[in-house]
Amino acid sequence: MTNDRYLIVSYFVCAALSIALGVLVYLYLRRPFAGVANAAPSRNFPSMLKRLLPCGFVLPALLGFVSVSYRSCDHSEYAEIIANRGYLVAKNQEQISSILFYIAVAVVFWNLVALLLLRVGKGGGDRTKSRQLNE
């Protein structure tokens, strides 16, 4: 396989991988998040959050993918970029690394959203009730 063809194939494989990883993380967290979102006081808000959740993982994954640029000081021309297979592999590794990092940041962000939902909604601890029962 020529470097030119490798670049084309690997680029689109990484793009597909970013979407697939975003979807996988969404599927893994979808059910527990729905349970947390249902604790929100408003009726329409949980539904909006549940629809927003897939975008909240797929878009950061795509952002991580596109944030890596093939052009740099030493590789400004297309011919220079495709000249070295090692450089192309390193860029692919950088893309996957960036995808994983952005998904991790998205997970932390959704944790924060869940925290606010639990604070505002009815998802908090049951200790008051247990204290009353003890008394």
């Binding site: 967290l29 729905a34 390193a90 994983l100 990092f101 639990l118 009815k122 601890g125 200790r127």
Partner: protein
């Protein structure tokens, strides 16, 4: 097998082992803490799964980002140093995310406790 690939696979294995050990160590106590803090079982599951994901994503993100561009004919220790470099960045990223998660859980426990006390 190509030495570059072999070193990369060792780095990947170490980067999977680190979050696995961390999660196995912290899971029981984190589970208990979340069960005592949250009324919703879904909330407990969500935070546990998120913690697992964050650990693996952070560790693998750093490990995969390490490029093995060593010259052909490099000595054994050069591969070891490259692996050590990868493990270093993997540990660094993982610990940063654990720190952020710890702050998040502290805020969760603190705010829900305040709410209960009210």
């Amino acid at each position: 097998m190509n030495l570059d690939l072999c070193a990369f696979l060792i780095l990947l294995a170490i980067s999977v082992a680190i979050p696995t050990i961390l999660f196995r160590l912290l899971r029981p106590s984190l589970n208990d803490l979340l069960r005592h803090t949250l009324k919703l079982q879904a909330g407990v599951t969500f935070y546990l799964r998120s913690f697992l994901l964050v650990l693996y994503l952070a560790a693998l993100s750093a490990a995969i980002g390490t490029s093995f561009d060593l010259k052909p004919g490099s000595r054994f220790m050069e591969y070891v140093w490259k692996d050590a470099e990868g493990v270093s960045s993997s540990l660094e990223k993982t610990l940063w995310f654990v720190a952020v998660y710890l702050v998040l859980i502290t805020v969760l426990v603190a705010t829900l406790k305040v709410k209960d006390d009210e």
